[in-house]
Symmetry: C2
Subunit: 225 residues, 2 copies
DNA sequence: AATTGTTTTATACGTTTGTTTAAAACAAAC
DNA sequence: GTTTGTTTTAAACAAACGTATAAAACAATT
């Protein structure tokens, strides 16, 4: 158990400043993303981080805490970008267009997953695993990280589509999320869509994904009820 | 290892005819869906099925084979329904509408997940877990079960949208899949969307989900390139 | 140089894991 | 009723798991 006085992790802010705890967290994220939470052992993480297994207990306590921190570390910075992009289009005197709002969600998400440096690029996989592992402690951190985003974007969509019902906007937000999330997994799943389409879909190209997603989702958002 | 002469599993067709192997498979599916492949032990499955742990080895060999059979048993019958629904709308003399094709995908999928009897109702979770667990033997069975569906539906979409590019249709098929898949998980994730929308979205209602999905996806499919 | 607080290490504990073995129980055929 | 083939069982295997312990190494302060 970590010392109660001045927990080392809480004080450090940037995990890329390679202290032992930062190395552990980065290794955990990379290995989790590649193979899954339950499929990676703390020993493997420690080895990958050039650290001792006991150092994980020292800095993070139990494995559950490490998983929570990993989810947080990947999603939180992306949320900052999404909310910043959203504010940029909603702060204007004119109400935003549907495409503006959709872009504020899609662009940061796709760029992080495909071109992101560091832990950002593991967003899609970590998100998927967070949805897959159905345990209370995961639900907690997932809700903590994603609830605000849903509400903020639905509000912005309501400004862009004043005649749409609130219910429709919640449904369609979820469809947007699902479509975006799923296409971003193609890269890590052996480019299944690219293979099936005989190369017609370049699922490594952030620009292509963004273009196609925005066209599809924007039209879907505008659909009649 | 099972006897090589006349393997017991291969000869039985309906897993609900409660032989020991059928009970094991059903228990495995239910437990896997609830908690994940790696998080459920063969001992738990055996106990839930009122069987001996060794019976799993006897009928299925290794745990990997049991996982493969579980994925197959859940997805295969649903694929039959989807292809039947698709054939019904493409067999006519007139080309199908976009909505026809979308409905042929959405309706069987949603009904299976929400109103399905037996193992069908675990479709969304098993599908998610199949995508989450990135191992060669899982990729194999997932491809085996889903590749034909992609190709068939993209072909049908091409008939409904003769002016759309093939590339667009592949992209949008994937978006359709992602949106459908994700909304079906809300039920098993504590009704997160329903909670955030303060009850405006009834994610237990197959009719509501189908209606909203079809409106959104059909509009997305028709979007200009 | 000695002291204090923090970090890292080697080692071990008790469980649980997937799988195997060989014997027992059962069923069917003659 | 004995034989033959199949199914089920109890018991055990080695390996891997998460975590704890206590000593060593290190760093900072006086």
């Amino acid at each position: 158990m970590p010392k109660l006085s001045s927990p080392p992790t809480a004080s450090r802010r940037d995990p890329s400043e390679t202290g032992t705890d930062g190395r552990i967290l980065e290794s955990a994220i990379a290995l989790f993303a590649a193979r899954g939470f339950g499929e990676v052992s703390v020993r493997e993480i420690a080895e990958h981080a050039n650290a001792n297994p006991a150092a994980i207990s020292y800095y993070f306590g139990a494995k559950e805490q490490l998983i929570k921190q990993a989810i947080r570390a990947v999603i939180a910075p992306l949320n900052v970008k999404r909310l910043a992009a959203l504010e940029k289009v909603t702060a204007a005197s004119q109400p935003p267009t549907v495409e503006d709002v959709v872009r504020a969600m899609v662009e940061p998400t796709v760029h992080a997953s495909l071109n992101g440096a560091g832990t950002e690029k593991h967003y899609a996989r970590i998100m998927l695993l967070g949805f897959a592992l159905r345990q209370p402690f995961v639900d907690e951190v997932m809700a903590e990280q994603t609830d605000i985003i849903v509400v903020s974007f639905v509000e912005a969509l309501a400004k862009a589509l004043p005649n749409a019902s609130r219910a429709s906007l919640f449904w369609r937000y979820d469809f947007m999320h699902g479509a975006t999330q799923h296409i971003l997994l193609d890269q890590t799943r052996g480019h299944r869509l690219r293979r099936l389409s005989a190369g017609l879909t370049d699922t490594d190209s952030a620009e292509a994904i963004i273009r196609e997603l925005i066209a599809f989702i924007t039209a879907g958002m505008k659909a009649a009820a």
